[in-house]
Each structure stands twice: as structure tokens, then as C-alpha cells.
Symmetry: C2
Subunit: 349 residues, 2 copies
């Protein structure tokens, strides 16, 4: 079934069919109706390859997601797509695994799909300059981890990981905790992991607590990072090596979920024995028991900034900048007050 078949069936030219299909006002109402009814009857749908080939001007924005194991990013796909559509774009979704090359994926997107712009979502980008060197269309880095030592000239949207981590840990300290462990990213994580660890250190420093490297536990290498399993295994180590801690800061909610399990298995209670603070604010965090206190990232705002800015950039009005969105600590029940009214609480345990 092609547009030609439809044309013959209706006794009109292909052009008329095409126009009818694309709501061109210049086609007589009667003809349009006849054509559309035949189209309907035969379930005809125009071939998109031919269409795109001809148009070459698809208002398509590529949505390139990297490392999707995290519900935090998963929850952003759909809203991102809707926002894009509101701005008159259609989104093309593409997912790249941890072991694949984002740069190549981006190039494929650009050349194969005639993409107008790209939103990179999540994941970790090693060598951003190398990856982005050949990206010839405007792009946005939305919550992607970048090695801090390199400073690519681009539009990036993110929470201030260092600052917000500092706030999260400071909260723990204000509640009276001093022996606070951190489940940090992998040792070689120079992006998000490093930033959040740095925030942890700063909070300690600012409150006059000595930084103890023994309290820093990096996620394991063999298992996906930021996963529940990694949080679980790492937390087991924490408990074994540092039984004297009163709190732990997990740099992602999913990691905290794993940590919960390790804590319970050790026969400990949350928050009575160990307080837990997470990061991200995934939907399920409030369903944990006890509900998790966590630094929630403003996904709506991030989505808004990302779509707004890719639109601007496509229109040629984009300027390289770093857009920081503010996170918010949502206090639930996973943190115990060790200190009441400025004085330390005595515990019998």
C-alpha cells in the first residue's frame, strides 16, 4: 500500500492524496473526505522512511539516555518527551548501555535521524571533549556526570552535587551525629561520586569534625554502581568495619535501599541504631520502612530547563552555561535525633 495505490483507488493524483493526508487547506472538502475514507478503509499509513528522507527537516530532538538502571532517570523519560512535544518537537528515544560509546550513539542519532538537537540524560561521561567533539547539533547535558578536571564549553543542567551533599550531611551533624559513614561512588568516579564525597568532607570540616578516611566506603567494581546490590554489599562492609557509626550517607536512594537490607540483616534498627540519608528522591523512597530522608532532585525543573534550553539552542540563542537547580532535603523518618535542644541525648544502648 502506497500513496500511489490510494490515488488510483480514488481516481486522483498522488499529490492530492499527500495534501489530504497533511491537512493542506487547498484540497476540496469532498475530495479530502473521499480520500480519507479510502485511507481509513485500507489502514494506510505513510511510510516514515520516505517521509523523513524527503522532509529532511524533522523537528526531532534526540533523547540519549545513558545507564538506565536508575529509577531516578527512568522517571524522567516520559515527562521529557511531553515537554518536547509542547514545544513543537518530537522526541526520539535512544538508550546506550554502560559499555557503549555515547559519542558514537550521538553521531548515529544526528546523521541517521536528522536530529535537530540532543539532550543527554544521566550517566557518566568520561572524556566529554572527545565525546562531544563531533556533535554538530546543539545539545544539553542533563544530569550527566562529568569529570570535574575538564571543563567543556556547553550547556549543562544539574544539581550542585557538592553543595547539596554538604547540606545533607550537615543535617545529620545538626541532629547530633558525628560518626557518619558514606557509601560513595566507585574509586575512579571523578564525577558525581567525587562531588558528593567532597560535599561530605566539607560538611564535616565546617562543623569541626575530623575527616576519617576509614569512614569512606567506595562501591564495588564488579557490580553496577548506584545499584541496590552494591549498596547492600558495601553497607555490609561498613557495619563490619565500623560498628561505632550512628549514621550513613548513601549517595543515591537505590543504594540506600540496599543499605537498609544490610542494616536489618545485621539485627540493627533504622534510625535507632543507624540513621540513613539518601540522594535523588525516587518515588519509592517514601515507601521504604522507615520512609527515607533524602535529598530530592527537582526533576520537573530539570526537565523544564533542559527542554527550554534545547529549544533556545536550536534557535541559535544558546549560550554555554552551567545551570544549577536546587535540591531539597525531604525529612522523613530514617534519621534519629542524637541531640535534643543543643544537648547530646544520652542513650543506654
Amino acid at each position: 500500500m502506497t500513496i500511489k495505490d490510494i490515488a488510483e483507488l480514488c481516481g486522483v493524483g498522488t499529490g492530492t492524496v499527500s495534501r489530504a493526508l497533511n491537512n493542506d487547506p487547498r484540497v476540496k472538502k469532498e475530495t479530502r473526505e473521499r480520500i480519507l475514507s479510502v485511507v481509513k478503509k485500507h489502514n494506510f499509513i505513510p511510510n516514515s522512511s520516505a517521509r523523513n528522507l524527503k522532509l529532511m527537516d524533522t523537528n526531532t530532538v534526540g533523547l540519549l539516555c545513558m545507564g538506565i538502571n536508575n529509577p531516578f532517570f527512568q522517571s524522567m523519560f516520559h515527562p521529557m518527551e511531553s515537554e518536547l512535544e509542547k514545544l513543537g518537537y518530537s522526541a526520539f528515544f535512544m538508550e546506550v548501555g554502560v559499555d557503549e560509546d555515547e559519542g558514537e550513539a550521538a553521531l548515529k542519532l544526528i546523521h541517521e535521524k536528522n536530529i535537530k538537537g540532543i539532550i543527554f540524560l544521566g550517566g557518566m561521561m568520561k572524556d566529554p571533549d572527545v565525546v562531544l567533539r563531533h556533535v554538530t547539533v546543539p545539545y544539553i547535558l542533563c544530569s550527566v556526570g562529568i569529570d570535574m578536571s575538564s571543563t567543556p564549553d556547553c550547556i549543562a543542567i544539574s544539581v550542585d552535587d557538592e553543595k547539596e551533599s554538604e547540606k545533607a550531611v550537615s543535617y545529620l551533624i545538626k541532629e547530633g551525629h558525628e560518626r557518619i559513614a558514606i557509601i560513595a561512588g566507585r574509586k575512579d568516579d571523578k564525577a558525581v561520586g567525587a562531588l558528593r564525597l567532597s560535599g561530605y568532607k566539607k560538611a564535616l570540616e565546617k562543623h569541626g569534625i575530623k575527616y576519617d578516611p576509614k569512614l569512606v566506603f567506595h562501591m564495588e567494581d564488579g557490580i553496577p554502581d548506584f545499584s541496590a546490590e552494591n549498596g547492600y554489599k558495601t553497607m555490609k562492609k561498613v557495619i563490619k568495619k565500623c560498628p561505632d557509626i550512628t549514621a550513613v550517607f548513601a549517595i543515591s536512594d537505590v543504594t540506600a535501599l540496599g543499605a537498609y537490607k544490610a542494616i536489618y540483616e545485621a539485627g540493627l534498627r533504622i534510625p535507632e541504631d543507624i540513621s540513613v540519608v539518601g540522594f535523588d528522591g525516587i518515588e519509592y523512597s517514601k515507601y521504604l520502612h522507615p520512609p527515607l530522608t533524602t535529598m530530592v532532585q527537582p526533576t520537573d525543573e530539570m526537565i523544564h530547563e533542559a527542554t527550554e534550553n534545547i529549544d533556545l539552542a536550536i534557535k541559535g540563542e544558546g549560550k554555554a552555561k552551567m545551570i544549577y537547580v536546587g535540591a531539597k532535603l525531604v525529612k522523613r523518618d530514617s534519621v534519629k535525633k542524637e541531640r535534643e535542644n543543643g544537648t547530646k541525648v544520652k542513650h543506654t544502648s
Copy 2:
């Protein structure tokens, strides 16, 4: 950048470039290398619209996912894609929301993308005959809910929802529970929800326990079904209206997650006060506290059957059949033994 530009740059014809790009053995090694180096240098990638238009024989299988809010299905996307690739297909991913029409989506897939076959994954299909009437390529229904009253002539893969539910509830009964509530699907759910509810009834019947309609709680209408929120709200009703129950069967793990929260908020314990059994076996179920006893569906097997059978069907060897895969009850710590060695346990509470 087109194949023509490359051809000019290399001083050869477009055909040769095309052949070099597609590993046609008939091109001289020397020429190929010259061409490929130019291609590399200019980061040229062939336009896929043109390619597909010409080929019209893309070995592509459409992966049509319906209602993706459930981690159970989310975990199946990627493996499905890999399996398909092993069989020589490339997968085209498409997602349809709850309010969209799967039939239209399928037709789009078929005509726009020249899909060879479709795997429908998850979701609920109202009027399967209507939806599938115009699907002209082979297809598989993988874990999609179908109204039992209609019997479409197709290849479907699924767990035997009724039987496995019966097993799950029977387990509860064997452990000594008699007042067992069920968080069932929506009232109008004639597919999965109805089947699992039916299994619940059968288990009761088989063990001589009178079926009490008051113990059946359907999920609410305003909220997405099978969601944590719906599980939470529904469980609150259960606790309020039937404080005498000792166990609850949640027809999905995510629903059970919501139920956990409601139980804890009521000041009750799991499993001491209320035992919980889930269904699906999502990854996070083992991280709940206590780890959830649940009927886990064999996703790997389902994926294998789905891909294997779509391959067969595309090759013309497919026969309409219902493929049941067996689920397995994974016993963790969310169920309390009410009966020990055949005698009822006395409780002071």
C-alpha cells in the same frame, strides 16, 4: 554529507562507496581502505531513512510495551532486545501509554517502520480481536492481559495467573492463615486481575474456607493500577474494614510495597500481625523489610519463548498457541507460620 560527496572526494562512484560501507567482498582492498578512511575522517554515517526506504526489508522486530510504570516489565526491555539481536533482528522500541491505542501503535509500527513482527509486552488489551484484526505481521503476546471471555487465535506467553495465584494463596493457608484479604485489580479488570482473584477463590474453596467477598479489595480507579500508591490506599481500607485478617495477597509486588507502608503506618508488624504475599518477583522485592515472599515470574524464560517464537512465526512456522511458563514461589520473610506441625499456634495478641 552524503554518499555522493564521499564518492567525489575519493574519485569513485557512489556504488563503490556503498559497497565498501556494506562490506561487499567485490571491492578492491586498496579502494575500500581509501574510502573508509575518508568516511572516518568526515564522520560520515549513512542516512537510515534512505537506507530503509531502499531496503524495505529491515529485519526489524517491533517491541511494543504497554503501561511501563511497572519495574517488572521495565526489566524485560533490554534482555528482549539482546535476544532479538542474537537471532539476527534489530529491535525497534515503542511505548504506548495507558490512554493510547495499542492497535494504532501497532499499525504505525508495521507501515512506518516496515516491521517484520511484533512482540506485545505487558499491559491490558481490551478487545484483542479489534486491536489485532489489522495486524498483518506475525506477533506474540508476551504477558499481556486479555479479557478471558474472548479467545483470539494467537501466540501468547504468560504465567498461568489463576493457577499460580491459587498456589500463592494456598501457601498462606497451609501456614495457617484463614482470614486472607486480597488486593485485586480494578473492578473492571477482566484480565490479569480477574484471573488472580479467581485463583484466590479457588485456593480458599479447595481448602474448605468460605469465600468472603468483604475480603476482596479492588484497586481504586483514579490512580494508576498496579502502582505503589494504589496498593497503599487500598491496604489502608483493608486495615480499616477488616482488622481481623492475618494475611493479605497483593497481586503485584509494587502493590505490596504500598501495602507495606500502610501496614507500618497502622502500627502493625509484618509478618507478626499481617503476612504479605506478592506477585511478579521484581528485583527490589528482596530489599523490602522484611524481604517479600512472592510468586516470581520467570522473565528469562518468557523472553526466550517470546523471541524464539516470533522468529519462528516470521519464518512462517508459527502456530497459534498458549504458552504457559511456570512461576515459582520464593519464600522470604513476609509470611508468618500460624500453624506449627499441623496444629494451630496460639497467640496472646
